[in-house]
């Protein structure tokens, strides 16, 4: 267990799940753009991807959690 309270296997599982979600959304954007050229939907998909990166890769929640070091 790390000091962030997750086992290594669980952390890797989360990483890979997020990666799959990001890959699906990215490829989805590509195919969506073949039939749709508007900004709204494509930027919305970007916002969803940004949520996953900021939350799971950049660990924004650590800003307001109290830890004793790492």
């Amino acid at each position: 267990m790390s000091s962030h309270g997750k086992s290594k296997a669980a952390a890797i599982r989360t990483s890979l799940t997020v990666a799959i979600v990001l890959a699906v959304l990215t490829i989805g954007e590509y195919f969506l753009a073949l039939v749709y050229s508007g900004a709204a939907l494509l930027l919305l998909m970007g916002l969803v991807k940004a949520y996953f990166v900021v939350n799971f890769f950049m660990h924004i929640s650590r800003l307001w959690t109290v830890e004793k070091g790492h």
């Binding site: 990666a19 950049m58 924004i60």
Partner: protein
């Protein structure tokens, strides 16, 4: 024992301050990249330059995979696995360089023998904006690779531990920020709008 507890508390306070400082830095960068995005929508409107979408997708996927390898490297250090941490950094830096050269070759057309690009920074509003957006982003990719090299070298010398690895965390978060910017630049350059045939 009291000294050890005192040191741990000091580290925890420094860690909170460091994290806040890094996020404030990112906030300042939002204005830079947000300004570039606004420029794109103001100047191009509902159009975009003719660009190879498959290449755009490929370099985007390369950057996405580099974010995963960086996350795995950080996770490895959080669990004291130095070997995976070091390997993860090398893979991330290599993928970062692949992305960088992908931009130079396919977006900037710097190597016409490999790929003939048609955009120039002073050619028209499409070239100017593409070069400004990808150039500013590429500088961040390069500085991210330099950051990774520094952290890798420190890791090689035995710095960082399961308990104390702020440098690793900062490097990882910076790299993901570079990826985050591209999440919005990719559709803005390659996907949104109808193609303008110049």
């Amino acid at each position: 024992m009291a000294a050890l507890v005192g040191r741990a508390e000091q580290y925890a306070v420094a860690l909170r301050n460091n994290r806040m400082g890094l996020w404030l830095f990112f906030l300042s960068e939002v204005f830079l990249f947000g300004g570039l995005l606004a420029t794109r929508f103001y100047l191009w409107g509902p159009t975009r330059p003719e660009a190879n979408q498959l290449i755009g997708l490929l370099i985007t996927v390369v950057l996405l995979i580099s974010s995963v390898s960086m996350n795995l490297a950080e996770t490895a250090m959080e669990h004291g696995d130095r070997r995976t941490f070091m390997n993860g950094l090398v893979v991330t830096a290599l993928l970062g360089m692949v992305f960088f050269f992908g931009v130079l070759i396919f977006e900037w057309g710097l190597f016409p023998s490999i790929y003939e690009g048609h955009l120039t920074p002073s050619g028209d509003k499409y070239g100017a904006v593409v070069f400004a957006m990808t150039g500013m982003h590429a500088i961040h990719v390069l500085s991210g690779v330099a950051f990774i090299a520094i952290v890798w070298n420190l890791g090689r010398k035995g710095h960082f531990s399961k308990e104390e690895h702020w440098g690793v965390e900062a490097c990882a978060i910076y790299w993901h920020y570079v990826d985050l910017v591209w999440i919005f630049f990719y559709p803005a350059i390659y996907l949104i709008g109808t193609v303008h045939h110049g």
